[in-house]
Structure formats: structure tokens, C-alpha cells
Subunit: 359 residues, 2 copies
């Protein structure tokens, strides 16, 4: 991989090379020494290394003007304090996903992924050219924050179940690890959604404390050991169809950077976005094949009776989010309108192509 | 859009702002004054403005160390001389699509899009994490060139037809504007593929010199005026399912940049990639709706009998490309293997999600 070459050649923490940009005198140059806190450990594959590479590259591109020290979840502050820590400016940057903050800002969910929302490409189109980024700026601006996309998991998987799910009533009493709006949706179907930290899910699934769990996709799910604990793997994660990861920055600090360094951060976030999504797709594809080849797992797809109901519950829940504030309504309307236009075109574009391929 | 704000604030050709990076003395700084030639006019929507913005941003991020003057097709050299011009180092950069060079390098097609190949996400995954970029480096390196992805059109549309296409024999004698491998595929079905410059397609279609044409997608097709000249619009462009645009750089010049400026170029290309693809999806969705609302166009999907045949012809043609050199074979094998693994996962991922949504 290109990045390995880069890391090899550049070395960690390398700054300026005289060959192209001569060093500035200390007095004539403003240097930013920033910190970034993450909501996941630095060791989480794809995600952690992606952000370490981001920091190295920003330092390289800025000739050392902007250096960022990356802290994994819990190293400096607990994961869920990321928002407040960056908001207060105690730390300049955070890496996260906006829906983690829905307790404070219900409409934040639209900037990660919502049940039956847009896939990764739709999210990119909305944020880039559909007014999404401007709405995100408005929403976060009120909290003294600025955020931009920086990574995407793609469509997540439906999850791991110990028993088959054949009808909507099979969700009654089902204890499933599913946080966020997805959890609220299955609760409407009678399930008991669980919020369990990553490190405890496998044991809970093995010992029967929970009956089912979702996580991310084949690669991360495999690493978690889920094929050892549940037999049925459900496809098509309607609860998170294209989760955008966010790079959040304290707004005053962001403005202090000036437009050159801002553009370096924006560009580097885009490169990180492109690479992380590419890696996720490549690794998930490889591990899906691996999971099948090991023969312990049976693939299932939710019956349409179930997804129809979940879709209806999701619509009710999103309509509820839209009622939380006038801005939430504006975001909801923009999102829904864009999604409708986008998906109608997808029907004659990506989906028509898939049909053509299968002929 | 964010970029409008950027352009407004930054101003065209703006270099350094003292606020963040103090100006360097002329003597202590190496300055690169580069030129870029494009295979399309600078005025072509999305594509042209995207590359002008790319150049402004690189200049901004590098504090003026790397400035790039952008020339549209024909301004400095004709479009199809881009490759030779950059190869010889007469101009440092080009913006193009690799399949334009298939006359010189047959395997170049795999780095843009091939009939029944991968969609935009698959191409990104292969290039990022599947060994694709390394193979591209090997292929172009022999010509003294380096190329990276910089833009994507997504799945193109099947094209505009004056008469309906119901069976494979309807292609017999059909004069269709379709360059590249797509043209070679329909030729196998008896069509007479035409290579016509953009500016002449509409007149040729209106006067009956040609019976059908493809171009890009709803946005660019609409601007070209095709709804005025042909009634049937075919979905799912199997001939170009996710065309990667390339930023090509003379390799010696690339190496002279040093790794800071190289990373600035790479990052900025990724931001351009993300934005162009986002804009293409947003605009194509909007114009698809517009085309339908105007009531002149009837949508059609190729019958499966036809796409099955086209798929078979495409496989034959790609197998032929693989025979042109040992490296072409290596690229073909890598591409096909990655595509197979990737698409099997897409079946339980994106496609399962689409089914869930339609319930």
C-alpha cells in the first residue's frame, strides 16, 4: 500500500525537508501544537491508523506548522467526553461520529447515518453539493464547533443472531446490542436494545446475556470473535447504511489556523476519507469471504415483512427528531428531499447496472 | 457550496497569508511554476471548475511554493497530446482519464473503467487497498509518468436512442457514438461505433448521421441537448460503470517536488475526487428528475438478453487486453480477482440494503 511506502519514507513525526520548503526562522512562523482525542482506541484497525496517518501528513504538508498529537479513547479523556473537551477548547480536535452526541443535539444523527437513510455516496453528495455541510456548520457552530467528514464505514451489516429471525414478533423480548436510533427502532418492535462497550460484547453473547449484536462489518466483526458466538449473520444493515466519521475542531481554534492550514486539514481529511472507505470496503469484502469459507456462519437476509416494519418505525423516529428544534426540521427536510431525488436516480444508475451485470 | 465560500475568501491566484505562514525570503525557497493540460475544456461543468479549484488550493496550501496554471483542451496542446506532452516533461501535469491512452497502453483502461467492471467505490477500494495504485505506478512508471485518481463520474448512463432496442439484433448496423472498449463491445453485436467530438454529437444525432449516443450522465447529457434529439434514454451504463479521472504527472518532475509538496498534491487530489464525485451524483440526480419532468424522454432499461450478450463480449475483449503484455495480464488478474470478492460482498451489503429499503 502506498501509505506503507509513505510511512517508511517519511518516518513518524518528520517535519520539513530542506529539499523543497526551506525552514523558516523561528520568529517568523506561528506554530500550532494541537491534540486530538478519539472515541475509539488508536489500535482499532483502519480507524486508529487512519488518524495517526492523518496527523503525520498534516505535519508534513504544513512544514511542521501544525502538529497534532493523537490520543485514543481514554488516554486523555473518556470517549464520550470528546464533544465537551473539544467544545471547551481543552483539546483542539476530536475524531468521532456525530450521532454519539444525539443526547445533546438530536439532529446530529443526520451527519453520521440514520436508519433507512443514505448510503456513503449519498452522504458525500449531500454534504458536498446538497447543502449538508452548511447545515452541519450551522448545527455545530452554535456549540463552538466545526466538523467535516473524515472516514466512512459503508453499509454496516445487520448483525449476529443466535436464533433465526423470521417474523417481526421474533424481536419481542430480544436482547440485542444496538445503540443509537437503530436501538430505538428495534425497541418499537419489542426488542430490548443494549448499550454494551465493545470489549464486553463477545462474552455477553457467549454467555447468553444478550441474544444478538451488531457491530460494523465483516472485518471488524470477525476480529471481535462473533462467528464463535452466534450462527446467523444478517445482511444489509438498515440501521446504519453509510456512517460518516467526523473530524471535529474547536471553532475558535479552527479560525486561528488561517486558510492555508485549514485547507491542509480539509484536504488531508478528504484523503483519509477516501482511504478509510476504500480500506473498509476491501477488508470487509475479504473477511466476508473468510467468514463464509470457515463454514461456521449462515448468512440470512431479513424478511421483507420485517424491514417494512422497521422502515415504518424509523420514519416515525426521524419525524420525532425533526420536531426537536426548527433547525432539526430544516436538516430533516433537506436530508429527506435530497435522499428522495438521489435514490430515484440510483434506481436507473447503480441499481440498473447491478441488474445488467447479473444477466 | 463550501467551494464558493472558499473561492470568495481566497481569491483566484492568492498565495500566502501572513497570519499563519510567514512569507519566506526568495532565496531560501524553491518555487515551482507548473502547467497542467486537460483533455476537456476548462468550462466543462464539474470537471473544469474542479481542476481550477485544485490548482488554487495547491498554491494556497503550499504557501505559493507550487503554482499550477491550468490549460483546457486545445489551449496549449490538443486534448489527445496530453499524454506525450506530460511524458516528455514539456508540461508537468495533465488531467485526463487513463483509457484515452489505450492505443499506446492497452491495459490503461483498467485504471479508468472497463465494460462490466467495478463501480466508483470498487475502483477506490482496489486502488487504495487492493494493490491497484501500485500496478498503475508500475504501468505508467515505464513511460516516465505517475498518476493518481482525481475525480469520478460514477456509473454512466446507457445512452440516447432514437429507436427502442428490444433485442440484440437491433444493434446490427446501428451507428452509435461510443468510443473506447464500449464501442468495441457493441461492434461485436454488429453496431458501427462512431468516435465523434463532443461538439458535433447533437447535430449528428439530429440529422440522422448517427442513431444513438452515450455521453456521461443526466447532467452533462442534458446540457448537450440530447433530450431534443432522441426519445429513449437507457439506464445502467455497463460500458463505463465508474470512470476514474486521472491526475498525471511527469515522474521526474514529481520526484523533484519532495514529499511535502507531493503530499499536498495527493491530498488535494483526494479532496477534488470527493467533491467531483459528490457533485456528479447530486447534479445527475437533479437533472434526471428534470429530464423526466419535461416529459420528452422515455426511460428504458436494456433487456437482460442484451446485457448478457454484452457481458460476454466484454469478457472476450478484456481477456484480449490481458494478452497484450505480462504486466497487462497481472493487472487484469488483480482487477478481476478484486472485483469478484468485492461484488460478492456488495450483494449482502449495498444490494441487501436496497432490497430492505424497498420493502
Amino acid at each position: 500500500m502506498d501509505r506503507q511506502n509513505f510511512i517508511k519514507k517519511a518516518g513518524l513525526g518528520l517535519g520539513v525537508t530542506a529539499a523543497t520548503i526551506a525552514p523558516l526562522s523561528a520568529a517568523s512562523r506561528k506554530r500550532f501544537r494541537w491534540r486530538m482525542v478519539m472515541v475509539v482506541p488508536k489500535t482499532l484497525p483502519i480507524w486508529g491508523p487512519g488518524m495517526l496517518r492523518f496527523a503525520e501528513r498534516v505535519k508534513l504538508m504544513s512544514g511542521g506548522s501544525l502538529s497534532i498529537k493523537v490520543y485514543g479513547a481514554g488516554e486523555l479523556v473518556p470517549a464520550l467526553e470528546t464533544f465537551e473537551t473539544v467544545k471547551k477548547g481543552n483539546v483542539e480536535m476530536g475524531h468521532s461520529a456525530a450521532y454519539y452526541w444525539r443526547g445533546k443535539i438530536p439532529a446530529s444523527v443526520f451527519f453520521t447515518s440514520v436508519p433507512f437513510g443514505m448510503n456513503a455516496n449519498g452522504m458525500n453528495a449531500w454534504l458536498t453539493a446538497g447543502g449538508g455541510q452548511e447545515l452541519w456548520d450551522e448545527l455545530y457552530g452554535a456549540y463552538g464547533l466545526k466538523a467535516i467528514p473524515c472516514g466512512n464505514t459503508g453499509v454496516q451489516m445487520g448483525g449476529w443472531f443466535k436464533k433465526e429471525i423470521n417474523k417481526i414478533s421474533d424481536f419481542k423480548g430480544l436482547k440485542m446490542r444496538m445503540p443509537g436510533l437503530g436501538g430505538a427502532v428495534i425497541a418499537k418492535a419489542g426488542a430490548i436494545p443494549q448499550q454494551i462497550p465493545g470489549g464486553e460484547i463477545l462474552t455477553n453473547l457467549q454467555t447468553g446475556v444478550i441474544d444478538a449484536t451488531e457491530w460494523v462489518g465483516p472485518y471488524h466483526d470477525y476480529i471481535m470473535g462473533f462467528p464463535k458466538a452466534a450462527k446467523y449473520y444478517y445482511s444489509g444493515g438498515w440501521h446504519e447504511p453509510g456512517s460518516v466519521l467526523e473530524l471535529m475542531i474547536n471553532k475558535d481554534k479552527w479560525e486561528s489556523l488561517g486558510k492555508e492550514l485549514q485547507m491542509i486539514v480539509k484536504s488531508c481529511a478528504a484523503l483519509t476519507n477516501q482511504e478509510m472507505y476504500g480500506e473498509w470496503l476491501a477488508k470487509d469484502s475479504e473477511y466476508y469471504k473468510k467468514i463464509l469459507s470457515e463454514g461456521k456462519t449462515e448468512m440470512r437476509e431479513y424478511p421483507l415483512e420485517i424491514t417494512a416494519k422497521m422502515h415504518q418505525y424509523s420514519n416515525e423516529i426521524l419525524a420525532g427528531v425533526a420536531k426537536t428544534s426548527p433547525l432539526a426540521k430544516k436538516i430533516y427536510d433537506s436530508f429527506k428531499k435530497f435522499q428522495s431525488t438521489y435514490e430515484k436516480y440510483q434506481e436507473v444508475s447503480e441499481q440498473a447496472y447491478v441488474r445488467a451485470q447479473k444477466a
